[in-house]
Every structure is written in C-alpha cells, then in structure tokens.
Symmetry: C2
Subunit: 570 residues, 2 copies
C-alpha cells in the first residue's frame, strides 16, 4: 500500500510507501494524523498550506462488507478546525485496488483539473468542460470520457465557488454520484486546490488478496453472519433505512422542527420511514426501499426514491435529510423533501448544513416555515450564483451572522444534525465536545438504553460513543456495522490480522481511535480552540424545548474534561 502525494500548484506527484508508524492507520486515523503533522494549524483553509487527504481504511478492498468508506480530511473552512468526513460509494474500492492507502493533495491553483489515476500513474487533465454543471451531468461526462467503470470523487458548483457547504461526491454501485463527504466544507478545499474530479481506473490491476487467507476467511464468515443476524443491520436498516428513526426521535421530542424551536412535528407521520417505504413500494418503477451504496454491502440502508411515474429522483433519502430539509423547515411532504435533497445532491452541498442554513433564513423571516417553493428557490439561487445563494451556501452560522439571528443551531460553526440536544443529551455532549463540531457520526448516543432527557451519565456515554465511532471511521467501516459487531472487537481484529498479515488486537484498534481523538484535539488547540468552544449555543441552555420540556443542562466542567482542553482518558 502506498501514499500518493500530489502537488496541485505545479501538477506533479510522487508515491511514498506507507511509513512504518502509519501501517495500521487508515481512514480518519490517517487523515487526522497527516493533517496534524503536516498542516500549520493557523493556516487559511483555502490557502497554500492546507492539505486535503483522502484515505481508505485498512480493510478497504478486502471484500468485507461495508468496508469501503473513504475519509476526506483537512482544515475545515467551516469550523476552522480539523475535519474528517467519510462516505460510502465505490471510489474507495477502486482506490484500494490501485494500491493506495491515501492521497495527499497540496498547493492551490485558480483553474480546475481532473486528476486521473490508473495503474500507470497520474494524469492531470483540464476540467473546463465539467464546470458549472450539476453533479449528475458532470459525472456523465466523466463516464463518457473515462468509461463506465471508473470510480470518482468530484465537487459541484459549490466547491468550485469555495462555499462552506461544499461537499465531495462519489458514486454508488450504479454510478450515481450521490454519496457525499458532506460535512465541513472540504469540497471548498478541493476547489481551492483546483481539483474538480479525481477519477480512479482500476483496470488491469490485480485483485487484493488477504495475507493470511485462513484467518481472514474465518473472521469474515463470522462478521458476515453477525451482520445478517443482527435485527438492525439484518432487518430494520434494509427495510426502512435510517428514516426508521423519525418516529422515535419525534416521540423523544428530538426531531428538529422549525429551526430547532421544538422537537416534535405535527406531520411526522408523513415523513416517517414507514411512509417512505410505502411510497417507494407503491410507486415501484426504478424505486427501491433497499439498496446498497457500496458493492457487496450487506446492510443496504440506502434506497432509491421514485417519482409518481416510477422514475428515480435521487438516492438515498436518509433520516438526517428528512429532519433538516423536512421538519426543521416545517415541510411535511415527502416529495418536497426529496426534491430539496435532490437539488442539494446536484449542487454537492451538505444537506445537513444547507437545511440548517435555510432554517435560519426562515427564522430571520426571509421566508415562512413550510415554504417549499421558497426553499427550492434558495437552492436555485445558489446554483445561479446569486448573492442569496451565496449566503445559503455559506452555511447556517453565516446566515445567522448576515441576518443578525441569534438562534443558530451550530457548534464550532457546524450545523447540528437532526437531533435536538435538549432531548438527546448524550448527542448534545458529542456536539459540544467533538473536535469535528456538531456531528452525530462523531459519537452517536441515540441507541443507548438511557433516559435521554436526563443530564446524568451522558458525558460517559458520549465519550464511549466518540471512541466507538472513531474506530469505525478509522477502519473505513460503516458505523451501522457497530450494532452487529458489538463491543467485542476481536472479530474485527482477526479480520484485519488476516487481511494485512500483521497481528492486531482489539486493544490496538481502540487505542488507535483514542489517539485519533487526541490528534484532532491537539490540532484544534493549536488552531485556537479552547473549552469556550466546547459548548452549545446559548439558547439551548436557556430556552426549553417545548416537546421534551427540557433545556440542555449537562454539567459544563464534566463536558470540558472530554473536550479540547480535557485529558481524553477513555
């Protein structure tokens, strides 16, 4: 496995062996380590000293289910801190087959290139023909030029314009570019570096084989069985996708509604996972309630949403998007949510950040809650590069600053995903203390069997979840496998041992995750973060969520102990 280092300023590259101290590092562990070691923490995110790192996990391309998530890392223009955002899709697999653990992009430039990578090396090709288009159109042009079987990462108009909401897209197994490293504006970092697309062609490369096939096969069998037999990964996710959560969060008073002003939505039934499945099944055609984003993924939480004529609209419709583009905007119509979701995908903007940004615009009175046409127009303004579109493209915090709104659901500049932290307080702790800013995948606590309304014990739960989530981010594994794998990580340790032929223990995996969190907090400290940033916005402490009757009241000092100035003892 190699690390490919590409300088976009002069369009040169070189390959490096993965150094001994990074042999086990992959995914978030590797992006964060490289950023910490190589990027000056005070640099400008869009300047020449920031780097963009794309990394696979150690299990990517190993044939294990759900193991092809690629991590994208850099200093975030949205948060000003370290950022890792990962996505499924097929790019990781192709990149892995090309023998690449990671790619480090350096330098900046004003024009745009496609970075084409195959077994013979790297080619840089002017990407003028791909600019200014919707993501699906640009992807089509890439397929026409480089063939249907390439893997790709690409930015949309948002990234070309270096917007804070800009994501990087890659394609699912059907070639649809709807898998996003969405959070933190890393698409803008790619844009600043002149990277319009990264194309992976793995033609002619040999299949990766486990170094210790017997150990690997045995572990893989056990892992696959766990995924099948677990009620979440074996039945609930394939049936309802992540949208299964709408009902439960609504009941908890945690479903963000009208800019997080309350936590339950009168139209929650019409945007629930059950309704989503019904609509998809009823309309049929190209739609499907069960769909895997990565080849061979057994969990298949994705779906394809069809229009009334059965034609595919977009994929996947997930809980976060229903929450942020639906209830958070007072929109209770599934077709409308899907249309906003589709537009976000086409512009390659983070759906969470964009939904929150539109919510703040509604709070400011620019449009009414529930105004689907108005929300859609904002996205079209973004596409047309109108000033209002630029404002929305800047994300929720900037909308708040531009319009003088104080109720803005962000931490460290990043919008909260679809959980009111007053009603699921463990997630509130994660939002407040994660080096990533408000992020549910940084320490998901919603499935913990606790009273989510109580402040007690939430710091411990979040801390544990932050380590568990980091483990999966580091391995390139989908976090949804965690329920099936359970707390005993021996199965994963055997899988890795068998695949890379180096003895790895469960403790190694855990310690790597803790070290990743330490690396990230250290970068953030050097970038200027203190415990003053490990907090929720003021109004969550002072104004009750009417649906849960709670404010956020987790002990601040206890939280700080696991934050940027804490000791992070897991």
């Amino acid at each position: 496995m190699k690390i490919l280092r590409i300088n976009m300023s002069d369009l040169t590259y070189r390959e490096e062996e993965v150094p001994a101290d990074k042999l086990l590092l992959g995914g978030r562990a590797l992006t964060s380590r490289i950023i910490k070691e190589e990027v000056p923490a005070t640099c400008h995110p869009l300047g020449p000293n920031n780097k963009l790192v794309l990394s696979n996990g150690v299990l990517t391309a190993s044939m294990a289910s759900s193991a092809e998530r690629t991590s994208l890392g850099g200093k975030s223009p949205l948060t000003g801190g370290i950022k890792e955002s990962n996505a499924g899709g097929t790019a990781g697999l192709k990149m892995g087959r090309l023998g690449l653990r990671a790619i480090i992009f350096e330098g900046i430039r004003d024009d745009f290139y496609t970075v084409y990578i195959d077994k013979d090396g790297v080619r840089f090709e002017k990407a003028d023909d791909l600019l200014g288009k919707r993501v699906s159109e640009s992807a089509q042009l890439i397929y026409e030029k480089y063939g249907k079987n390439v893997g790709l990462y690409m930015i949309g108009v948002s990234g070309e314009r270096k917007m804070n909401t800009a994501a990087m897209a890659n394609a699912d197994k059907d070639g649809s570019p709807t898998r996003f490293c969405g959070r933190g504006g890393l698409g803008a970092v790619a844009g600043a570096k002149g990277i319009k697309a990264i194309v992976f062609n793995d033609e002619g490369v040999e299949k990766n084989r486990p170094k210790n096939p017997d150990v690997y096969k045995e572990a893989l069998k056990q892992y696959s069985l766990s995924l099948r037999e677990n009620p979440g990964t074996g039945k609930l996710f394939p049936e309802l996708g992540t949208a299964a959560m709408v009902r439960s969060t609504n009941k908890l008073g945690a479903l963000p509604t009208r800019n997080f002003s309350t936590g339950s939505f009168e139209h929650y039934k019409s945007i629930s996972g059950e309704t989503l499945r019904e609509i998809i099944l009823e309309r049929g055609g190209e739609g499907t309630p069960t769909h895997n984003c990565m080849p061979g993924c057994a969990i298949r939480c994705s779906n394809i949403y069809p229009d009334k004529d059965g034609k595919a609209v977009t994929s996947p419709i997930e809980y976060e998007n229903i929450g942020l583009l639906g209830s958070n905007l007072g929109i209770g119509d599934m077709d409308q949510i899907v249309e906003l979701n589709r537009l976000c995908n086409e512009l390659a903007v983070d759906t969470i950040e964009t939904g929150a940004a539109i919510g703040v615009a509604m709070e400011a009175g620019l449009l009414e809650f529930g105004d689907f046409e108005g929300a859609r127009q904002l996205l079209l303004d973004l596409e047309a590069d109108k000033p209002m579109g630029r404002i929305i493209g800047g994300g929720a915090e900037l909308v708040g600053k531009i319009y003088g709104v104080r109720k803005v659901p962000v931490v460290k500049g990043q919008a909260m995903p679809a959980y009111d932290p007053r009603s699921i307080k463990g997630l509130g702790v994660t939002f407040a203390t994660s080096p990533q800013g408000a992020d549910h995948t940084a320490g998901q606590t919603v499935r913990a069997q606790v009273d989510h309304h109580s402040p007690e014990g939430q710091v411990k739960i979040s801390q544990k979840s932050q380590v568990v989530n980091t483990i999966y981010d580091n391995l390139g594994l989908c976090y949804f496998a965690a329920g099936a794998v359970g707390p005993n990580l021996d199965m994963l340790a055997r899988l890795i041992t068998g695949y890379i032929g180096v003895e790895v223990t469960a403790d190694d995996i855990k310690n790597m995750a803790k070290q990743t969190l330490k690396d990230e907090h250290e970068f953030n400290r050097m970038a200027g973060f203190t415990k003053a940033h490990d907090r929720l916005p003021e109004h969550f402490y002072e104004e009750e969520n009417p649906a849960s009757g709670t404010v956020f009241d987790v002990d601040q000092e206890e939280m700080e102990a696991i934050g940027v100035e804490g000791n992070h003892a897991g």
Copy 2:
C-alpha cells in the same frame, strides 16, 4: 457621578453610585471592566446576556479641550471578543452634565425605542417613526421632537438589522450626526437591545465645577498651551486633518491599495491632505478645512467637505476613510471617496470595515477595482436590504467567507485600518495582539522615529503605544492630544486631581491603562481566544508588499508575549 442601569427587556432603570473601586475609571477602562465583570464571555453578542455600556472619561464635561469622547463597550458580534469604540461629538458632554459616568444597557427586545434622559430621569418612547431612515433624517426628527440642543446617540438601518458593520452615531457641535463609535459592530448590539436612539437633554442642570479650582485652572492652562504650541495639534491637524498622512504612508508603501495588495497608489496625490484642503478652500461655501467635533476642542482636525456648489456633503473626511474607501478600492477621486463616505455615514456603518468589505468583494471579482459606481451600488443595496447589501454589511471577513477569498485583511474578524502591516510593522504588532482586533487607535506606532520596515523593536513600540492609547481612551481624551501632552503625564494627573478632588498620579493613570488591557485580554481568554488568534492573515507573512519589498516578519513568540496569553508586563 452616577451609573445608570437600563433594562431594555422590561423598560426599567435605576441609578447607582459609582462604586469606590471604579471612582477613577471612565471611558474604555470602565466599559471593559463592567463587561469583564458582568458579561459571560461565551454569551451570544446579540443575546440577552450581552450588555452595552456607554461611558464618559473622568474629564468629560470639565471644559478641558478634547475630553468629551465617549466609549461604547460590549461583546462584539464582529470579533467575538471584548470591544471598545469611542467617538467625539457632543453626546458625552451632555451625558456628563447630567451627572452620568456611564450607562449600562441590559436585555433584548424586537421593537425599537428612543431612550430619553433628562434631569428628571429616563423615558422610553417608541421609535417607529425613526426606523428605516438615513441617519441625518432620523436626527432631524429627533431635533424636531426634543429640541435642537439635545445630545444623541443613534443607530442607522445597519444597527436595526444587526449587521456586523453597524456603528453608533452621535452629533458634532453643529448637530450633524457624523461622529461614530464605528468599530466592532456595537450598533448591532444596540439594535438587538431595541435601542434606536439615546437622547440627552441637559436643560436645567447645573454646570459641573472642578472640586479643586486652583489646581484645575493651573493644569488646564498648561494643557491648553501645550495643545497650541505643539506642531501637530497646533498646526498640522487643523490645516490638513488626519489626511495629512496620505503622503507619508504612500511613501512608506503602507497606503492600502486594491485590497492591501500593495502599499502605494498611483493617484495618491489626488487623495492627499493637501488636495483635500485645496478643494475645500477653492469651493468654499459651507465647506471648511478646520472644524472641531467637540465644543471647544483646540485641535480641530475635522473638516466639512463641500460639493461643487459649496453645499456641505459630509464631515469629516479622514485618513482612514480615504485609505479604505479610496486607494484600497483603487478609487483616486476625492469627490467619489466623499460620496462613499457620506453614504456610510448615512447608513451608520463603520467606514473602515465597509471599505475593507468592498475591497474583498473586488478581490472576488464581483466588481472591478476603481469601480466607484459599483461600490456605491453596494451601499445602496445595503440600504435597500438586498442580499448583496447584507453581505457587505457583514464586514470583510464574512465577504471573504461567502466568496471563498483567502486574502482578507482582518485580525480577530475586524478589518485593518489604512496601514499595510508589512510596511509599518509596529502597527502590524498592534493589529495582531490588541484585544480589540485590527485597530490603529489601539496602539498607533506610525509616528515612532524608527525604520518601520524593520521587524526589530516593533513589539516594544507597539506595547508602549497600546498603553498610551489606552490611557487616552480611558480618560475620554482624544488621542491626538498625546503628542502635545508628551510622555510626562503629570499635567493630566494634575488636571484630574483638580477636577475630581482626589489625588491622582501619573502612575495611577498608567497603571489603570495596563489594568484595562489585562481586563480585556482576560475576557478574550474566557471567550476562547488564544495566541493562535494573535496573528495577521497568512498571506501577509508570505507575499511581499511590492511597494515596500517587505513581508511581515516580526518574531511570533515575541508578539505572543504581549498578546492574550502573554503576561502584559508593560
């Protein structure tokens, strides 16, 4: 002397005696102390926990020249740190005559009031009729209602909309509301509190008299003589105003030109102080090259700029505005600069921040450098509340974030005044380390007799200047008096001793200033500032200013020693 505490949430007020520990505190010393003691550092600047403090210096209303500057303080929505901004004009005098050392505004509300203060107390009157208008129109309505002789502080449409560039205006001795507490967006804090205007009516109050008339008179005589005999305050400022500096900064390569891309401007002659004086004298009419903003000010650095028919356009045309709205935008026509200045005044936006914001918009390619009509239209967009106007009204940093521009001349979110820090490095140190963000009045070093291009010794010079500037801010004295007063502060100590009847020494005055800086840094530390924030934007270290041939290269550790994590030993 009393402190008036006003709660805008429920429109109540109470008077408090100035407590013993704050007897000598005034101006910036008092606003910063109160903010540090009473405002939670992590609060939202536009939320209920921020406070807005207006304070006089101890010498205000004493009849000493240039001593009526009022300080406005609060947590800044622009920087996120502590903020003090002061202005001349007549409001301080009226407020002082009413026996008020300071006013503390608390709470928030959505509608707007005029806070009317006279010898009988405080009245709150709905200000709907004043909203949405230009500052000169609203002032006219206030004079019609409350009489020509009132003092006033007011916000413009920018403050009503809680923009980061929003200033508070007060009137000069002719009633023209063109004196601004400009920096840091405190007009937005006033707006969040529902304060449209503060009106002071000092009718029927007795004249303040020195407690020890003999000491006072003797010191006042000496002070007035110094002002007259000093070449700066006695001749240069009255003749050319602050615009006298255009020639010298241009020569140093420090005149910000085209978004600080270089430090000399090919049209500098047509925007110099000499040209300004010539135009004013030639046109005559209501224009005057010499004008005092405070009654009885001997320095008279202000001016009134007339149009071709001799009708007054606006006042004053100052160096900073010529730099930021002129050369920084590539505009070399005095009438055009004055028109932009006038519009900024009418909207009550900070001219420095707004000029820098338009400069960044030009850098982004939204309009060409030199495009006066385009710049004017941006201000009209701001007035008309169009999205583009909101973006400009957000200040330079937000324009940069919205348009993905990395060369943004700000520190701690606040735009640099008209000195390229690569060419006057002492000011670079001030910009980097002042708790106020980039601010020349926080530690002006341009008059130091040193090689401004050299990094050597600049930290010491800045540190000293930061203390000296704070001394004048604390006393409500115009900093321009500093040259005449000189390093020996005994004259000021005697003046204060005579006026308040309490023995004050030069050391007391110096120590109070050092303590003010400590207070401010402490607030900022609690608000989340670290040494990572005590820096200039990255490109000033890496890209040469072609006019001076220098980059900013002052030793970072040496700078940090006087910044937020330093020990501030003066």
